[in-house]
């Protein structure tokens, strides 16, 4: 059974979001890391980059596939998890914790309401 923490919101494209005041922390879901299998490369967005909700801004790659990661929200990239490059296995082993990918300073906090609830995400992936 794939993990879908109750305190997070989700996207149709398998990202998770943790709202921290006006900061959104973003990563990929357990379902996503399982589909990809062993991650061998990650490309994170540049600091200061402005992103729009739904815009591809990162890449996660496994032996067989390269997958675009879409920003769930609009705003500015204020932090990326640079340490991940040295420890890519965390994306597989701790996708909701240590393996967050980037943080966005929200330009429109109302967008959080457009995201999927844990129950909606569970339905999406047929859990």
């Amino acid at each position: 059974m794939t993990k879908i923490p109750e305190n997070l919101k989700y996207t149709k494209t398998h990202e998770w979001v943790r709202a921290d005041g006006d900061i959104a922390v973003v990563g990929i879901t357990d379902h996503a890391q399982h589909e990809l299998s062993d991650i061998v490369y990650v490309e994170l967005p540049a600091l200061g980059r402005k992103v729009k909700a739904g815009e591809p801004c990162a890449v996660v790659e496994s032996h067989k596939t390269a997958a675009d990661i879409y920003s769930p929200v609009s705003g500015e990239i204020i932090e990326v998890n640079a340490g991940l490059q040295q420890n890519l296995g965390l994306i597989n082993s701790d996708p909701y914790g240590e393996a967050w990918l980037f943080k966005v300073k929200l330009s429109d906090p109302a967008e959080l309401n457009n995201l999927l609830s844990p129950a909606d995400y569970a339905k999406l992936i047929g859990n």
Partner: protein
């Protein structure tokens, strides 16, 4: 997240996919199934990384039942095969095997394959799954043309056959316990572990019979077992059970690809195709010019005049996305000089590696390259083949 290139065989496909006799076994072991050359095959059971490292450190078990199997026999068989294939079949005593290539009249590769002399006038040939149809067409066309063809019989036996590969440093330690039976043909050995590399023998047990060859596609020691479809499941289960004590893991096509790439073995469709010669692919060693074979003339000419492209192995010099088939290759002056034919992340070296073709003047070891991966360029370097060599592998 999206998949920019994924490899599912979905239910919408009209094509009926084939399954090997081991399909249910794969499913019961939790394998992820993908489509390969019209077959439903396991790409991984746990993870490509884990399965790859298992083969390098202990043992892995692969289903290779999808590969084409032919028997070519008769008084004319050796002469006929020596005309179709590039390597010298007369080097093979009964029980010997060799890697060989089959070329078209331009010297381009129709397929690369393994030939096993199982009886004085009978050969087992293992061909790529993706080329079985093309190979058979060629074989039968030539059978009608060549005089030795009248005394040669070709039988495609893959329909009712299966095969597995068990590869890894620890395999010789347990293979005799996994494959029982009395030796009854091929090389003069009593037990499988007595086979030398590139030898094959026939074993008969009370509930199964099979050919065992000390060959493989991983760069490790190991064996390949060819049996009737009904027996191959018993063979797989026996190897898996005995091997478990030695940390053997079932391994899928994902690991098969990363392993052969570390060993710099070509994959038909990537490094080899009908417009690429064995010389360009760096396989000149397997051409015997002392005999006439299809493609010999243009290949002799190419040996004299030089090649248009040269096979190279490269290693990424920086952390980069995975280099993949069809990525463009540039030199340090930004000239386009070639193309990547296969690429992956190497589990042993923990860096991107690949094979490709470049203009001969840029093919020296140590040459710095730039690989274009999804629009960005990353530095790489041409290295000596293979990327990985097991120091203990007895040749």
């Amino acid at each position: 997240m999206s998949n920019s290139h994924s490899e599912n065989g979905t239910a919408q496909r009209q094509v009926v996919l084939k399954r090997t006799p081991l399909y249910e076994v794969h499913c019961s072991y939790g394998a992820r199934i993908i489509e390969f050359a019209g077959w439903q095959m396991p790409v991984q059971y746990s993870s490509i990384q884990e399965e790859h490292l298992a083969v390098r450190s202990s043992a892995g078990l692969f289903d290779i039942s999808h590969m084409g199997q032919l028997n070519v026999s008769g008084d004319g068989a050796a002469e006929f095969l020596n005309y179709l294939l590039t390597n010298d079949i007369n080097k093979l005593a009964v029980g010997d095997a060799q890697y060989s290539l089959m070329c078209n009249e331009r010297g381009g590769v129709i397929d690369d394959l393994y030939v096993y002399r199982i009886e004085p006038k009978k050969f087992l040939i293992i061909v790529n799954a993706s080329r079985a149809k093309a190979d058979l067409r060629h074989f039968f066309q030539q059978l009608n043309k060549h005089p030795a063809g009248k005394k040669t019989t070709i039988e495609f036996i893959a329909e009712n056959a299966g095969a597995v590969a068990v590869q890894g440093a620890l395999v010789p330690t347990f293979i005799n316990f996994a494959l029982d039976g009395v030796a009854a043909g091929g090389a003069c050995v009593k037990k499988p572990d007595e086979l030398k590399r590139n030898q094959i023998a026939y074993f008969v047990a009370n509930n199964k019979k099979y050919w065992v060859a000390r060959t493989g596609y991983t760069g490790e020691d190991g064996f390949e077992v060819f049996a009737k479809g009904a027996d191959i499941v018993k063979v797989w289960k026996s190897i898996n059970e005995v091997g478990a004590e030695y940390s053997l893991r079932p391994a899928g096509l994902g690991a098969r690809d990363t392993l052969r790439l570390e060993a710099c073995y070509p994959l038909y469709g990537n490094e080899l195709d009908e417009n690429t010669t064995p010389i360009e692919a760096g396989l000149g060693y397997f051409l015997c010019f002392e005999k006439d074979f299809i493609g010999a003339e243009p290949l002799k000419r190419q040996k004299l005049e030089g090649v248009r492209k040269k096979s190279i192995a490269f290693k990424m010099l920086e952390k980069s996305p995975v280099p993949r088939h069809n990525c463009a290759i540039f030199n340090e002056n930004n000239d386009a000089i070639g193309i990547v034919t296969s690429g992956t992340h190497s589990p042993m070296l923990n860096v991107g590696i690949g094979l490709g073709y470049v203009s001969p003047q840029w093919s020296a070891i140590g040459t710095k390259l730039k690989i274009d991966i999804r629009g960005k360029q990353f530095w790489a370097e041409i290295v000596k083949k293979p990327f990985y060599k097991n120091p203990n592998l007895i040749k």
